[in-house]
């Protein structure tokens, strides 16, 4: 087989935990004759497969299942992710070049500082120039570009003083070199670039890592559906390949991959990701259905009406676009500092130049001192202060299962004083849990487990989960058969046992299932969406942090009331996405900084509009994309831990700023007096950077 004929596919496999998983996957997968090569990326918990063109996604997932791993296909993905990784790599290259140049120039500079004179000093200066000038041209590009962009729009940011400083210092040093001067600041200029690039790179790595985590979580991305062709044959199609007019078959327990109209079958759909409503909805032929909803009961034939990017209800997409604009107006703390800092630095340098000119020092000497002032005040520590603290915090949070999308999210999280919580899927687990399992005796439990194990139905899975936790062993049954829309049936000794829809119908909206032997009902088990185990503790912890909480739910009042009572929170119910958005705007107008917690598609606009937002890992793709950070697992406590960590990070960042200002208070007068030689500049710069990074590392320690 030629290499060109192979198809490359990526799968997210969240359960890769150890070396033997790598071995099992890589060696086990290639035994499947459809798979030519498998490569595990442990860091990103992904597996890259090269497979023959005929291999369908369900077959490949089956190959993972055979080895005992759960795999989710990842689409080839938007180009965006690739480009982001490319920026990181570009920055890393620039860091490497600046680091190389810095070390070599420092080597030459140390000789100059230790007393080289005359021709040797000139030679060393020339060599330094030879290394420094191309380095500045290459490694300085990110700063020059950003500074130019800011200046063109009549604004100024941190990069403006950096660019002016580096350029001025390089030109002055070149002039010094040509006129056999004693001091060249090439080492200073390159060292500055190196430290700043480190900060930039850390920032970008942090964003990449979070984005990688989020991509792995986007369950619906790259999924697909079984499509029925014109001649009645079925084949698997990726979600991206679905087109309006196609007919897809959706089995019970599957999520819909596209919007459409039901053309065959009747079932109940779980809309909780879409609307926050906890009760399932009946659908029949000719009902419109939406992507992301979960088919609960029976197989469904759906004619696709909208696929891919069009699926998210247009209204919600529009609202999200509008809501996100508010957030883009947020100015990061480093840029806010730069607004004050940049003009101050420029004024100082100008004052130094003017002062020495008036004192009659000549333009050359005055310019040299102005350059020294610029290089010493350059926000080297500032450029490192924020990203260093934020990446340490993000790393700590990631260990606790919280993914932070970028540094500005941490800054915004630290400021929130009001939490608005969605109910379904956020305060609750967002999946049915069996309520009265304890009422069954062990014999019934083992029968239920034996039957539930055989089915992929969401209720069966909930039963399996619940019973396995209780260490129940399944009863020995034979001839298990699942009837879609009805339940599971099997032979137990010489009797027929069934687990399925209650015969007398369900009472109210509650989901329920019934265990029957020989057609006689033995026990019925009700299901409900349970509160997260630590929801109460979290609302109390939020209060001690000075954050009020309120429930905003799209669900009916009588479904929300018990939760609100249990948690002692006020609640607004029956809210549409617009209502949630309006509620947030009202609170923001009243001066609150709102933290929005939500998971559904209906929370998307609110998540985008909140000052900061968080979503659970089980959230809809829209929710995960709109939120600033995502917490994994069933516990809600990470929300509070994240806020605490964000506040500590912000405190460290402010300390770092103070350190940087303190350092300037000492160093600037020296520069003004013309006492800053390249040696002093080098020591001051690296010293302040080390202090700032060291301070940031304090975040790694357990919260005291």
């Amino acid at each position: 087989m030629t290499a060109a004929a192979l198809v490359e596919r990526d799968f997210a496999v969240p359960d890769i935990r150890c070396a033997s998983c790598i071995a099992k996957l890589e060696q086990g997968l290639v035994r499947d004759r459809r798979i030519a090569a498998a490569r595990v990326n442990f860091t990103e918990k992904r597996v890259h497969l090269s497979c023959i063109p005929g291999a369908e996604v369900p077959d490949l997932i089956g190959a993972f299942t055979n080895l005992g791993f759960e795999a989710h296909p990842i689409g080839t993905g938007p180009e965006e992710a690739g480009r982001a990784a490319e920026t990181s790599r570009d920055l890393l290259r620039a860091v490497a070049v600046a680091g190389f140049a810095m070390m070599n120039i420092m080597l030459l500079s140390v000789s100059v500082w230790s007393g080289a004179t005359g021709a040797t000093r000139d030679l060393f200066h020339w060599l330094s120039a030879l290394i420094a000038l191309p380095t500045v041209a290459y490694a300085g590009r990110p700063f020059f570009r950003s500074a130019w962009r800011a200046l063109r729009h009549g604004r100024t940011n941190m990069d403006v003083p950096i660019s002016i400083g580096v350029l001025l210092v390089s030109v002055m040093s070149l002039y010094e070199t040509m006129t056999h001067g004693a001091h060249a600041y090439f080492d200073g200029a390159v060292m500055l670039l190196f430290f700043l690039l480190c900060g930039r790179w850390l920032d970008s790595v942090m964003r990449d890592r979070a984005r990688g985590g989020v991509t792995a979580l986007l369950r619906n991305m790259g999924t697909g559906a079984m499509v029925v062709d014109g001649d009645g044959r079925t084949r698997w199609a990726d979600a991206t390949a679905l087109e309006p007019g196609m007919v897809m078959l959706v089995a019970a327990g599957e999520r819909l991959a596209a919007d459409g109209l039901v053309i065959g079958g009747a079932t109940r759909l779980d809309l909780s990701l879409l609307t926050g409503e906890s009760a399932p909805r009946d659908v029949h032929a000719d009902d419109p259905v939406h992507a992301g909803t979960l088919n609960l009961d029976a197989p469904l034939r759906v004619r696709v009406t909208a696929a891919g990017a069009d699926t998210a209800i247009a209204d919600i997409a529009r609202l999200m676009g509008e809501a996100a604009q508010g957030k883009s107006r947020y100015v990061r703390i480093a840029d806010r500092a730069a607004r004050l800092y940049a003009p101050a630095v420029h004024c100082l340098a100008l004052a130094a130049f003017a002062g020495w000119m008036i004192a009659g020092a000549g333009w050359h000497h005055s310019l040299l001192i102005a350059a020294a002032v610029l290089i010493i005040t350059c926000p080297c520590a500032l450029g490192l202060a924020v990203p260093a603290a934020q990446i340490v915090a993000a790393g700590e949070l990631m260990r606790k299962g919280v993914l932070i999308k970028d540094g500005s999210a941490l800054e915004r999280l630290a400021e929130v004083d009001l939490a608005l919580l969605d109910k379904t899927g956020t305060l609750t687990l967002g999946r049915p849990e069996a309520l009265d399992l304890d009422g069954l005796d062990d014999g019934k439990k083992s029968l239920v487990l034996a039957l539930a194990q055989a089915s992929r139905h969401p209720l069966s899975e909930a039963l399996t989960r619940g019973l396995q936790c209780a260490n129940i062993l399944p009863a020995a049954v034979t001839g298990i058969r699942e009837t879609p829309g009805f339940g599971v049936e099997a032979q137990w000794a010489d009797r027929v046992v069934t687990l399925g829809r209650p015969q007398g119908g369900e009472k109210g909206d509650a989901l329920a299932t019934e265990l029957a032997v020989d057609g006689k009902p033995l026990a019925s088990i009700r299901f409900a969406d349970q509160l997260r185990p630590d929801a109460r503790a979290v609302t109390a912890a939020l209060r001690t942090e000075g954050i009020d909480a309120m429930i905003l739910s799209g669900d009916r009042a009588d479904a929300v009331a018990p939760v609100a009572r249990e948690l002692g929170l006020t609640a607004q119910t029956g809210m549409s996405p617009q209502d949630k958005l309006a509620a947030i705007e009202r609170q923001e107008a009243a001066g609150h900084k709102v933290l929005m917690l939500g998971d559904g598609l209906n929370d998307g606009p609110a998540l985008a509009a909140g000052h900061a937002s968080m979503a659970p890992g089980s959230a809809s793709d829209v929710g995960k994309n709109a939120a600033d950070c995502i917490f994994l697992g069933d516990r809600l406590m990470p929300v509070v831990e994240t806020i605490r960590m964000a506040r500590r990070t912000q405190a460290i960042v402010k300390q770092n700023f103070l350190l940087a200002v303190g350092y300037n208070v000492i160093a600037v007068p020296l520069a003004f007096l013309g006492l800053v030689t390249p040696l002093v500049a080098a020591i001051a710069m690296s010293g302040s950077s080390l202090i700032v990074v060291g301070n940031a590392l304090r975040l790694k320690r357990a919260p005291g």
């Binding site: 033997s20 790598i22 990326n41 442990f42 860091t43 990103e44 490497a96 070049v97 070390m103």
Partner: protein, 50 residues
């Protein structure tokens, strides 16, 4: 001064060599999966049943 004529090019050359090696390994994707690389030492090569 003569010593410098050798030593400086050697110093720079070694530095460039390091930089080149880093760029090479970056392009080879050796930094793509750092945690996995640490674990792969435990993976035994599968013996081909011949």
């Amino acid at each position: 001064m003569n010593g410098l004529a050798f030593l400086i090019p050697i110093a720079l050359g070694l530095g460039l060599l390091g930089l080149g090696a880093f760029f090479w390994s970056l392009r080879q994707g050796q930094f793509e999966d750092l945690d996995g690389a640490a674990l792969r030492i435990f993976v035994e090569d599968e013996e081909e049943p011949s």
